[in-house]
Symmetry: C2
Subunit: 172 residues, 2 copies
């Protein structure tokens, strides 16, 4: 974890003044570190009966796709409105200012699926909670939420663990 | 390839009337097919001296990340404006109506890098050409463009192959 933290770049005042952004692009530039992150998730989930990875656009795709391959399960994207071409389910959720909407194909998961919801970063948890609602709307269950980074001070864990357990690799 | 085509869903009139959208989400739902696609790229590029995968947001991430891991090279994202937190290079390019802009971190590639630019689909080639300009602006060279799907009738290949060779797995 300390090695991974050395590959996360702190960018002050992004996207706005006062926010310290945790930039994962140096970690993505290291195939060793990216491989370790994916392997750490795969090790945790190898005996949990996960049948599907649901990844949140767009940085969640970077971790979710290799993890799905590593685990030998299908990958389903959760995207912003208007991107998915077939029949979708939608959920609207509160953001700091205003609202956000996420969509998933209605055939992306089925009633028998035990889903791992993955994203790069857990902040307030609103986005991941919305993704979980898409999963349950389609009749599947959320086995766990997985994040590379968790920002403890934003307390997203307390919001999500009412839905499913939360696991993160790197905490600030 | 025929097996892969069975996992690409045709969605008529998306995103607007008259457009036949090639939906890759069924392919993503098959770990076998997704693994074959990544392995096919990895086989082609194993002896080409590629040092970096540059993937275009956001479906390019789904193929680019596992390919980078498979090849043991770094992954760099090209994103829409305002998403990347550190110093970026930008390029603006023509779209069917209006303009698009893409950004990449200026330290995403270096002068010694031989880059594979990857996206899920080649249409007119404008986005991939813009990504290549980001790569060359940073002093690196584009070894090849890789796509899962190519739409021949949009003639993107003719535009891109002035910059670097073009390789696609599935053609329509």
């Amino acid at each position: 974890m300390d090695d991974w933290k050395r590959l996360i770049r702190d960018v002050p005042d992004f996207p706005k003044p006062g926010i310290l952004f945790r930039d994962i692009t140096p970690l993505l530039g290291s195939p060793q570190a990216l491989g370790e992150v994916v392997a750490a998730f795969a090790e945790r989930y190898k005996s949990r009966g996960i049948t599907r990875i649901v990844a949140i656009e767009s940085r969640g795709f970077i971790f979710g796709a290799p993890l799905a391959l590593h685990m030998g399960v299908g990958f389903s994207p959760v995207r912003k409105p208007g991107k998915l071409p077939a029949k979708t389910v939608s959920v609207t959720y509160d953001l700091e200012y205003g609202e956000g909407t996420l969509q998933m194909h209605e055939d992306a998961v089925t009633k028998v699926d035990r889903v791992l919801v993955i994203d790069d970063l857990l902040a307030t948890g609103g986005t991941a909670e919305a993704a979980a609602r898409l999963v349950t709307t389609c009749g599947a269950s959320v086995a766990e939420f997985a994040f590379v980074i968790e920002l403890d001070f934003l307390k997203g864990r307390g919001r999500l663990d009412k839905v499913a357990p939360v696991h993160s690799l790197i905490r600030y």
